[in-house]
Amino acid sequence: MDFELTAEQRAVRDLCREFAREEIAPRAAHLDRSEEFPYELVAAMGRLGLFALPFAPEVGGAGGDFISYCLALEEVARADAACAITLEAAVSLGITPMVLYATPEQRGRWLPALLAGERLWAYGLTEPGSGSDAAGLESRAEPDGEELVITGRKAFITNAGTEISAGVTVAVITGWEGSRKRISLLAVERGTPGYTVGPRYRKLGWHASDTRELAFESCRVPRANLIGTEGRGLEQFLHILEWGRVAIAALSVGLAQACLDQCLRYVPERRQFGVPIARFQATQFKLADMATQIEAARLLTWRAAALVDAGKPPGVHASMAKLHASEVATACANQAVQIHGGAGFIEDLPVARYYRDAKVGEIGEGTSEVQRILIARALLGAAVEES
């Protein structure tokens, strides 16, 4: 076993680190305060090739591996979690379903602009009435000749309402087998009549990212917009979410690392009782715990990412990585505020933003409770199924 990154992975990490430090970090506070969507940074990330990173050259990707993608997300999140989630949602939720399931014709139509970061594609699974119970969704698409007519609502959808949003892949019911839903994925282009995008939510964190409620009313799309096989939507989105969890884990590691970075800058400078607070063992132990937890979260993330690269489902490892990394991020943000004292509560330093940005990591793409359910199910298997 060898925990070393390859030369290429190191090059990706170093490039993303430099880019994030020089281009993203200086703008993060302004983006957080103004809640402006980071169009320029998205374009810059596109030029860098970030949206194409983990996809094969055959579909127009840059040919990097999933570990490289995780390294990139970690570095972007270390500078700004809102930019990182914009990238993550575009890649893991917007582009990945198309790469995995779309026809060559569909890919040719949508992918080039998405891979270049010129346009964004969203993914609509969650509904006002179904979140953790994703399969409880109610939006439906009824056939009418060569068209499907969508009715329903989607909640908390990332990247759907920006000026460069090109469309959304929605999970909808396309029929019934007795009492079982047939769920399918359907691409809806922005501007399709009957598809309306609500105003941006006001959020606790991730201020610069775009999250909206979507409504579909007699929204007609051609049958040719089905992404993948009709009726296979459930297993498709479970697969997509599994990979997405690994990406959210990487993002959380980056945010946790940012907390530690900021503490390491602060503790030698801040003096109390005549000495830098770095001298207090209480401070040192907090830092030691943060560093240890971050490294553990990073290794869990790499482990899950390595499974993806080996062509195996990351499964329970994706859940463990996401669960642990997101909880480490909130714990580190909490300690970072504590270490900064009053200054940690003031918006002049980035720690207050880290604290607000961290929490949603335990919620999006499957809550911590859902991850624990999945892990427990893997442990207990049939024992719980039967009861």
Binding site: E8, A11, E18, R47, G49, L50, A62, G63
Partner: protein
């Protein structure tokens, strides 16, 4: 236009450097190594010229084996190929030896232009570019702040002690560029992946037609640079301008 760009890998300037007390060289063990940020300007200058006028950029480096990472970064930025001269016999090479080795490596391929940075961020002697030019028997145009090329003549605005001057040169020549001559591009992620399949030659001294001669540059002593004297504050009581004029005359600047 075939362009050779000399690039050096150096200890990360963001980490505090430490000198070896006996050799007076920068300690490199255990320190992250990076492409000299100054050389990114040379690579950008080469790529911009090649893009505008055709041709390819080849990077040339002498250094320990891990310098391949600096070359890979240049390849990811867009260079077409790279050459690394890594030979244990070159440990402790002085500036002239470095120039001999680089000139020999450059001579192995076609070149119309050789680009370097004016001085490296670590060694900082600032003599390698001119030495390469002398060894190749071509002119050196140094301290470029801006560069343009009309297809046959290179027009260069040079930084001098008193300001700038504009000079012209035909090809081939050696061009050394200052930081700020351009805005170096980021390598792209596609570029990083593409670098995999670009030619990267590893050479040892045996592969080169080079006479090393005596190593006659030795670092004898290292001292901190003398502290600059504090400036003089002229309080303006109405005669301030007069007083400043006097000071400038004393300093013989006017």
């Amino acid at each position: 236009m075939d362009i050779a760009v000399c690039v050096k890998q150096i200890p990360d300037p963001n980490t505090p450097g430490e000198l070896d007390p006996t050799t007076h060289r920068l300690r490199r063990e255990g320190v992250d190594a990076v492409l000299d940020p100054g050389d990114e300007f040379g690579i950008e200058a080469g790529l911009a010229l090649a893009e505008a006028h055709g041709g390819e950029v080849r990077v040339v480096s002498m250094g320990p084996e891990r310098s391949v990472e600096a070359i890979r970064k240049a390849l990811a930025m867009g260079a077409a190929g790279g050459v690394l001269v890594a030979d244990p016999a070159l440990v402790g090479a002085d500036a002239l030896t470095t120039a001999r080795v680089l000139a020999a490596a450059i001579r192995r391929g076609p070149f119309d232009l050789v680009i370097t940075s004016t001085e490296s961020t670590d060694g900082y002697t600032g003599v390698v570019p001119q030495a390469i030019a002398e060894l190749l028997g071509i002119p050196a145009v140094t301290f470029a702040r801006s560069v343009s090329f009309d297809g046959s003549t290179l027009t260069v605005r040079r930084q001098t002690e008193n300001g700038t001057e504009t000079v012209e040169a035909g090809l081939p020549c050696v061009l050394s560029v200052t930081a700020g001559v351009n805005a170096p591009r980021y390598p792209s992620l596609r570029g990083i992946m593409a670098a995999r399949s670009k030619p990267l030659d590893r050479l040892s001294l045996n592969d080169l037609d080079v006479q090393l001669g005596e190593v006659d540059q030795e670092i004898v002593r290292v001292e901190p640079a003398p502290q600059r004297k504090g400036g003089e504050v002229v309080a303006d009581d109405g005669t301030g301008a007069q007083r400043i004029l006097e000071l400038l005359r004393q300093a013989k600047v006017i």
